[in-house]
Symmetry: C2
Subunit: 331 residues, 2 copies
Amino acid sequence: MPKLKGTDKIYDVIIIGAGPAGLAAAIYAGRKKLSTLVVSIDVGGQGNLTTHIENYPGVMPQSGMQLMDVFHTQAQMFGAEFMFGKVSEIKPKGKEFEVIVAGEESYLGKTIIIAFGKVPRKLGIPGEDKFFGRGVSTCATCDGPLFKNKTVAVVGGGNAALEAVLDLSKFAKKVYLIHRRDEFRGDEVTVEKVKNAPKVELILNSILVEIKGEKFVSATVVENIKDKSRRELEIDGMFLEIGYIVDSSVVKSLVDINEFNEVVVDKKGATSCPGLFAAGDVTDTPFKQAIIAAGDGARAALSAYTYLTCGGMVGKKIAPDWHCPSKKEEK
Amino acid sequence: MPKLKGTDKIYDVIIIGAGPAGLAAAIYAGRKKLSTLVVSIDVGGQGNLTTHIENYPGVMPQSGMQLMDVFHTQAQMFGAEFMFGKVSEIKPKGKEFEVIVAGEESYLGKTIIIAFGKVPRKLGIPGEDKFFGRGVSTCATCDGPLFKNKTVAVVGGGNAALEAVLDLSKFAKKVYLIHRRDEFRGDEVTVEKVKNAPKVELILNSILVEIKGEKFVSATVVENIKDKSRRELEIDGMFLEIGYIVDSSVVKSLVDINEFNEVVVDKKGATSCPGLFAAGDVTDTPFKQAIIAAGDGARAALSAYTYLTCGGMVGKKIAPDWHCPSKKEEK
């Protein structure tokens, strides 16, 4: 096996993911003067996807991107380093953890905070992967403006799909909404808005069979699930809005996961593996909200700090009360 | 017993406390259209005490009061009602909980969120209670400006006391710092600043014996713990900076508390009593931070919402997975 690129530096903490949980963890780790590396495929994560966030306590309504930009600025202000790429493997290596990025680069951390959230669910049909980023998107908020005066399709039946349709109809000349049922799971108000939108055509009881194109998406084939008839739609863009799933495959051999593939944490953000912490949507907290992810990210960073300063080592059991025994009276 | 004042309205949730945890809970409860009453002695709680908060993710550095003002605005925006007063009792009443305020008013809630944080520790000496708010204060940030060109004393030896001294020396003409040891527990940098501040006089190895005055504080008696000599200092104000404690006495017969009097919660913010939730510094989370309190407040509100919508009733056991069984597949 060829030597991997990377650095010899051993970080106090490597945070994987840069959404609300990962960035809050980076802010707190940085302020505790821990040497901190954030590895992520993006900055902002799902925090970017909300056009108008009004329930983040302490911040008057603004876009999710604006909010995440402040998180990012703060994390940099306190000294966190950023590295972009997809983590392909995490494994113990001596007393540290090794984080391998895209199979090519290696980074060592004394502790790890898993905060890579959820990923959009996929359909698993021909053309979906081939055209991802070339007309196929999972983020109408991010990519909608690229489809001005074009024809797009949205697949899904929940609020996310309905809101994507309304959002896209501001730019596109036509928006197909493809849904496998004849009813929507979204809020009644939003459903009505979509039904009354002039540029929108509903294609119900239908599933996607294929996405076609040369270099970019040019068409999609839909099949009516009742009469099995097929129809080809000429489109320039395809937005998948069929929900999110947790992909915890890179850590599932290290930590306990639940039936939804979520990483099981205790109330201090510790996983079943000492030195490995987790926060945000990747965990088994039932409530997926930016403020909860941010609070849990801060908590995971402080837990990692406590783990490091109490002399915790990989494989060594942490005291059940989580305090350094000699410091207990200071609590 | 005379009939208590109050209202016949049964609230979906009564939140006790209006710091970061209580206000975040109010924002989330309000957005879920739960009828929400916040009962508190103030708005902002410990969130107000930080002059310069720079580690709240998503908000660039500003004062704690500015931050808490936004929390308050959002909570009102989503319909939470506010009632000022000190809760003297919480008890089950039929299927609801009764919250008694100042022994005089009664409010009913289907669920309760305990979020009243910590309270400043007291010395337990003569004059302390009598002159509280009349020269005796536990908040230099709040009350410092009232002592322009006056003489004040601070008691304590940690960072809070040292920072209060520096803060007060901007206004007062003289600041005594009274500490029972001859060393400080605060950061070295802050200790040096205090030692070099021209208006500051250190009175070490000394304890407070009494606070004197007519209507307002006029003097304090200090005793040297080594030679037992006493000295009377003429002062206009006395700031107690000897830490915070949890006073969970109003709920200790209802919920499990730990050795620090903190309310024990599970990772969804539920206490040992169904229908009773808790968040923030009053709980046994080891990390007392605004962002963590806010995240936990939001989580407690969503747990209360789930409890209500799943048909949970006081005294009825909640399903261990916390989801309405029929809705589990929607997760």
